[in-house]
Amino acid sequence: MKKVLTILFSAFLLVPAFNYAQDGAEQYQGGHTLNFNGNVIEIGGFTTFYYQMRPKYTGDTKSSSNNVFTVDDARLSLRGWIQGKLMFHFEYNFAALGAWLGVDPTTSKPGAAPTTSPKDQPLTECHFTYRTPYLDIKVGYMKVPYGLLNLEDKIGSAFLERTKFGNGDYDPRRDAGVMLEKSFWHKHIDLSAGVYSGMGENIIFGVQDPSGRFSYAGRAEFSNVPLKWVEWDMNNRSQPAFRLGLNAKENDKTQFSGNGSLTWDANGENVRTIDGEKFSYGGDATAMWHGFSAIFEWTQSEMTPHNDGNGLEALLAQESAVSHKQVNHLYDGAWYLEGAYYSGLLRSGVAVRYDEYNLEQNITIQGAPNHQLRSCVFAYVFNIPKTFLQFKFDYAYRIPLAHGAGPSAHWSEDEMRVGFQYQF
């Protein structure tokens, strides 16, 4: 079976690639606009429903089957424009609510035990933007301007599932703060910069960092056509389009034990938010032409642990001993390459993606050490006017890298998913 899937994957690699979001020629952008004397409210959202097949692996201790029907998204989105100058966006994923709270309805007195995965908290957008003729000021809980995949809406992706690179496992995607944004040269250049709590999605729990230090993030984009990351309706351009993006983020936090601990990964320090200073930088390149597209994105982090006896500090000492010199920083990085082709005539798209993580020893992405992940997808968009309904077949499997491979070399998330997404 694995050989067949490998051959299938290799066949997909022969097909030139795309970003489905840019390329979804038939893609209907959801939303229903209501007008109240010049003030506009757009009501929309989307659902994701699929059947998941996860084969058992050697050493899998879970007794129950991993094959399930699941509702992954039940999102309701409200966007408003007040006289064109003030915008707000509120989005809530009702499907994530139960899982996030960890409520077990089978017990007689179900109680809420917050999940160990703060990225899954159900509030996905809650912010407003004040537009001035000079720049836009965004305030609230929002996506941090770092990384292309981070900023891309899930519904715009060909895949049913994000990679760990862009799903919040590797780096927090959202945070509370203030962001300034400015476009130049008819949107060919777009600059975003913000100051945030640095707590990521944990800020919704009310978890604060005792140091009170902020996090700073910024992104610059350049494209030959205006391909701002919030506008994904530039479909099937007959001229070649390309975009380059650069990101940087600084986050200096103090983790602490006890109530409200940030260390939510029992297997070791988590790469998301460390006890120390984490300076991240990265970039991305996108090219697109007539349904073909390709994306490359990479990120790198330099970590400087605080001197308070935590796990990272011990790792630093270990590396210093091995290299016989003083090591002051730890490094990790990740990258992915995605390619796709979408045919408007066939209303179908295929895409392949390869992502790789190179982490320091004992640092994990939600329990997963270094690995490569290969995934491919076939998507079909139904021809229903004013509706966006698509069928997707998504397959992903992980290859552990030697460094960090061990008992967890097998991954519990090798899977196939067959499902639908509906945007309204």
């Binding site: 959801g30 010049g38 007539h290």
Partner: protein
Amino acid sequence: MLSLLPLCSFRLGHSDNVTHLKPFYHHVIAQAEPSDICVAAANPSHYYVVGNKGSIGEIDENGVILRKTKNSLCDYEGVCMMGNTILAVDESARRIDFVNESDFKVTRSIFVHYGGPRNKGFEGITYVPSQKKFIMVTERPALLFELNDQLQVTAEVKMPQFYELSSVTYHDGFLYFLSDEAHEVMKCDLTDYHIIQRWKIPVTNPEGICFDKDNNLLIVSDDMATLFKFKMQ
């Protein structure tokens, strides 16, 4: 999959009976994100240009800006003349502003309902004097709305012959539709809107269309903020 590429090209509007045009003149317009253009009633050598930052400007026949309003941050995507009044369409708000030609002041506004996503509203507007009706179009799906001279919608027409539309103008008894993504101008019959002739234009993100008094085709590009002139063949 690769063998399907010719079909995909056809889907994108590549066809043998399309005439390819080359501009004989172009000039950068000093206005943010120009999204439509129409001939000025007061001076047929001048044109009004609206931008989707909410500005209205007047340019001469060379594309030089003569006057313009500040960006009001509304989302103008279409413009046409009705007598001496400029009609500017705010795509997001589904609003038509009546603008005084002399001082660019908005004298009144009306709203035309259209659901769907906010930024998929009306992209173009033109007036057909012989039938005393307005034509408005949406981008994708391409829909055409007929409105009477009181701007009441009288008909909604699906336009499956178009993949996408970015503007429309009336000229010499025909409607001319502009497609941004197909980079095409399509001349259509006024009664059943069937396509009579097509032209390919080498312009990035063409958003506005009109004709000058010499029957030259004028196109404005949003991305490039540029006025292009073509001789029709």
